[in-house]
Amino acid sequence: MIDKIEGLKKEIQNSTITNEDELEQFRLTFLSRNGKVQSMFGLMGKVPNEEKAAVGKAMNEVKNLAQSTFDEAKKALENTEEKVFGASDDISLPVQPTYTGSFHPLTQALNEIKQIFLRLGFNIADGPELEDDFHNFTALNFPPDHPARDMQDTFFVRKSDNESEQDYVLRTHTSPVQIRLMKDQKPPIRSIMPGRVYRNEAVTAKSYFQFNQVEGLYIDEHVTLGELIETLVMFAKLMYGSDVKYKVRPSYFPFTEPSLEMDIWWENEKGGQWLEILGAGMVDPNVLDAVNVDSEKYTGFAFGMGVDRIALLRYGIDDIRTLYENDIRFLRQFKS
């Protein structure tokens, strides 16, 4: 009996169906009421009881095979049915890829920086680009004859000899936002302040009269230089990889004391070089005094970095002007 079933199975497997006629022939031979499958089941009565289970299973398999062979062949025949294709139905015809939205590389670099500081628990603060002298210079401990207050370095919008009227400038850093924060809010304060800043510089491949900064401020009762350095190291590792080689060295800014700068080792074709990536320091007591924060009770740190520079480095752009030309072929390279 099993041999009979096997024979039928082979017969089904060997049958070929290439057109409607053959399909119908297959159906009549195997699947119709008088077909071979049905007549196979008719033999069941002759099977001894103890074999019935095994034989039944084998018969069912053959039945399923016949049905699936038929179904597949039918489907295949339907698909090969001739459809009329016109010239414009050619699926290989080219299309214009859909226009997609994207962020400018400056925004992408800034977002990376923001994400890192958000993870470190910093908030994000904003302020005006057009500032008064107090917020941009005086409160930040710039002496009255500091070179940064020079017309050669800073864009002035209003310059007044009248004591009661403050000078207005395009902010030269985002530090005025720190002043605004400390005026508005009691410590602890932990925030970064990204934004556009201005310096009176000619437009060249290496300089531009506007650029973007991210500064950070942390004020609390026991903030140390050690914590500042640790924060900067965390940033450098998250931004440039955990194996980043770095060093900090003393520097000078009017609004921090002590002040420092951080360099990282940047590999290039010539081997590599130390690159300054940010300036930082402990907020100068004069700055805290200017905004009525008790400089004996509170200490704090501040840091700042240039986003344009980071973007240039990150993407290997060699001309700052490229960032402000907005060539669509340039913008397209920065995927989201």
Partner: protein
């Protein structure tokens, strides 16, 4: 600022090489930005003995020299006239390299010169880079051993010049001794300082009368004299020092003043005593502009109130900046008058800036020099001049000192040092560092040190300044990593920041590419955007292209569009988020300035290109409008803003009567102003205003969605052609209840059959109820109401 490491080693002994010194200085805050090697190791240069000289058979000017090099004998072709048998000469052997003046190197090879072989080169001083004598080969002492290395026979060794980027707070480090002092502090070495205290002479100089008229600008004026000098070239050691830091040697008087300046940081001026009129020096400023010829032979207009050194006839030097031509030391000078003064930093800075003339002197005066150094420096210079010129130092000195600087005393709590730095330094360690920096440190109590600040540190006046000194010598990199991190619950992110992120992300999701454009426009560009009385100009623009702060973002887009169209772009879909500025009575942040954050959407070019599947399709104002309304919908203000038609080219959106957005088809004159031929459409959305409307809240409450389908009803109205579809839509909504969920226009039509000045607008109204399926019966009363309202208000007629 250039520092020679060879020179530096005069004051501090150290086994460190130049790179190591540079690293130490950088970590001290004297950042070394570059290291340049000058001079040579003279590898491959040996002492050769000339055994014989004969004429070159093929060249009149060349000679063949038989030269013994110790281990071999070679023939060298030489062109120098002074070559002679028996001389000992420096020979660059085959394979040796010589520095060339242009910075390259010359490698000596075996050669044939006019048919005669030459294996090496007999060198002149110039070729070896050790002197100026180019007249012939350098002839060495006859006693030198043939074949011995040349470098053993001379005193020069290669020097490494450090370029230090000096921060403005460190005037003390603007000289070799100052740098050596810092280095000594960190390597705990001993500083050798040749400047000893000088006993002031009992009497003033009798040969000259010094008077300080402007004591505000000149705090001290020391004068010393050296007579019987012979002005000549400086000795080699002095010339080497000056040349190593890029100075041109002049003569043994001027060179000494420059040497002292770079050694200790005190600018000096040497006058020819004979040329000082009336033997009078008066330090004064004038209340009017003065024209003065400086040493560099330039007539300069010096503004009023600039400090001058004058003699009996008038100005002889711009104090602290540059001397004058008339009193310059010359070869005939017999008596030298040395000026060593302290000028007020601010006044020198002003003078230097006004003259756009920064000199080594002004650089130091304007940063603040040691106010006690003048006599010591004058004495050092006088002694050196006497030594080098065979002169005699006049025993008397003049020291006018009207303004004396008080020495500062600052207390320091060691606990505060550790509190601020995060260190665990002991009192001894702290006081050790400060002592090495020449602070006078005494212990006042358990946690208090009293520190006397040296005069050469005008930057140190507070406890925190001392803490910085301790920190930088300790090395910030040695500060231990904090054991715990300063963690407190972060504040919730500011709503404004969240809102801005939403706006930016939304713009991107609407398929706009972000651009960043200039905040500063030309006056002409700015005038195309807004009335001039709204402009804010910079007083000192970087160029005429960038004078005026942008009142709108529009200009940036149009410029970016032009840039791209010039490069054959076809499809531009840009956004920018940025600040815009206008004059305003109130002001946003500061008085008189409205500074808002705007979002710009800009479209120009083709929405769809010419292609096999259809004709090209340019962008239209409605593409932009659809995006703006999608934007409003996502910000949840779509049902709160109202559109107000400003013209056929401009549509405004208002929120509570305030303008929040403007959609524009850019008019021809503006396009022309920006040199654009393509049509452009912009939407400028005032994000600050939207945010301030208090609708930034994003808390979402789920609204049940109706289970039933909507019922749609079409109705076309004939109206006068000037009636706006927007107004009709508004009226339709007003007349219906909340089951009316949308009002669309599916057809607009003008035709003769409608009559002149008439048009038909076909609306599709969608009604939806959350409790049942609506039928015509349900909506009929409302439709009637709508028809009546439109009839009475717009004389609209329902088309059957």
């Amino acid at each position: 600022m250039k520092i020679s490491t060879n020179w530096l080693r005069e004051y501090i002994e150290t086994p460190l090489d130049a790179d190591e010194i540079a690293d130490k200085l950088t970590l001290l805050g004297l950042e070394v930005e570059g290291i340049e090697k000058i001079g040579s190791d003279y590898e491959g240069i040996v002492v050769g003995e000339i055994l014989g000289v004969k004429a070159h058979p093929n060249a009149d000017r060349l000679q063949l020299c038989e030269v013994h090099l110790g281990n071999e004998q070679v023939q060298i072709v030489c062109g120098a006239k002074n070559v002679a048998k028996g001389q000992k000469v420096p020979v660059a052997v085959v394979g040796a390299t010589l520095p060339l003046p242009d910075g390259d190197e010359l490698t000596i090879r075996k050669a044939k010169l006019r048919g005669e072989k030459s294996e090496g080169m007999i060198c002149s001083e110039v070729e070896l880079g050790i002197g100026d004598d180019n007249s012939g080969i350098m002839v060495l002492d006859e006693s030198l051993k043939t074949g011995s290395p040349f470098k053993e026979t001379i005193n020069t060794k290669p020097d490494y010049i450090l370029e230090i980027g000096l921060t403005p707070n460190r005037p003390d480090a603007a000289c070799h001794i100052g740098v050596a002092r810092d280095l000594a502090a960190v390597i705990e070495g001993e500083l050798k300082n040749p400047y000893q205290e000088v006993e002031k002479s009992a009497e003033d100089l009798s040969f000259i009368n010094v008077n300080i008229e402007d004591t505000e600008k000149c705090h001290r004026y020391v004068g010393m004299m050296v007579n019987e000098v012979t002005v000549s070239e400086s000795p080699e050691w002095l010339k080497t020092r000056l040349k190593s830091i890029g100075l041109r040697p002049v003569n043994n008087i001027v060179d000494v003043t420059n040497f002292v300046l770079h050694e200790i940081g005190q600018p000096l001026h040497a006058f020819d005593y004979a040329k000082i009129a009336s033997k009078k020096i008066n330090v004064k400023s004038f209340d009017k502009e003065v024209t003065f010829k400086t040493l560099d032979d330039v007539d300069r207009k010096v503004p009023a109130n600039t400090l001058f050194i004058c003699d009996g006839d008038g100005p002889v030097a711009v104090a602290g900046v540059m001397g004058g031509k008339s009193s310059e030391v010359s070869d005939e000078t017999k008596t030298v008058f040395i000026e060593s003064a302290y000028f007020d930093p601010t006044s020198v800075r002003k003078a230097s800036k006004a003259l756009t003339l920064q000199t080594d002197s002004s650089y130091r005066f304007e940063r603040g020099i040691d106010p006690t150094l003048q006599l010591r420096a004058a004495k050092r210079a006088a002694d050196l001049i006497a030594e080098l010129s065979g002169g005699k130092v006049v025993a008397q000195q003049t020291d006018e000192h009207p303004v004396k600087t008080d020495q500062k005393t600052v207390s320091l709590r060691p606990s505060r040092v550790n509190h601020l730095l995060g260190t665990d330094l002991g009192k001894e360690e702290i006081s050790g560092i400060l002592t090495r920096l020449e602070f006078g440190v005494t212990s006042k109590s358990e946690d208090e040190l009293t520190c006397i600040v040296p005069y050469f540190r005008p930057d140190v006046s507070r406890e925190v300044d001392l803490i910085e000194e301790v920190g930088r010598v300790f090395d910030y990199n040695n500060i231990p990593t904090p054991k715990t991190s300063p963690f407190f619950t972060p504040e919730t992110l500011s709503e404004w920041e969240v809102y801005n992120e939403r706006v930016r992300t939304l713009a991107k999701s609407l398929s706009y590419k972000e651009i960043t454009t200039n905040s500063l426009l030309s006056k002409k560009e700015a005038s195309l955007l807004a009335d001039e009385n709204l402009h804010i100009d910079t007083l000192n623009p970087v160029s005429q292209e960038n004078t005026t702060l942008r009142t709108h973002l529009l200009a940036g887009f149009l410029k970016a569009a032009r840039y791209n169209f010039n490069r054959n772009a076809k499809q531009l879909r840009f956004f920018e988020l940025g600040h815009v500025f206008q004059q305003d009575k109130k002001g946003t942040w500061i008085d008189g300035v409205k500074e808002h954050s705007n979002l710009l959407f800009g479209l120009s070019g083709y929405k769809k290109f010419e292609s096999w599947d259809g004709k090209p399709e340019p962008f239209s104002i409605f593409d932009l409008k659809a995006d703006v309304e999608a934007f409003f919908r996502e910000l949840n203000v779509h049902d709160k803003v109202e559109q107000v038609v400003q013209s056929n080219y401009e549509l405004e959106y208002q929120l509570d009567g305030n303008s929040v957005a403007i959609i524009k088809m850019i008019d021809d004159s503006t396009l022309k102003g920006f040199d654009l031929e393509e049509e452009a459409f912009t939407a400028e959305i005032d994000i600050t205003a939207l945010y301030n409307a208090g609708l930034a809240n994003r808390d979402t409450e789920y609204q049940k969605v109706s289970k039933y389908p909507s019922f749609e009803f079409d109705a076309a109205f004939i109206v006068d052609s000037e009636v706006r579809a927007g107004d009709l839509s508004k009226e339709i909504r007003r007349s219906a209840d909340e089951t009316l969920v949308s009002v669309d226009v599916f057809d607009v039509y003008e035709g003769k059959n409608l009559g002149s000045n008439k048009k038909s607008i076909a609306f599709r109204l969608s009604f939806l109820d959350s409790n049942k399926t609506l039928t015509i019966k349900d909506v009929e009363p409302m439709v009637k109401k709508i028809v009546q309202a439109l009839e009475s208000k717009f004389e609209a007629k329902l088309r059957s």
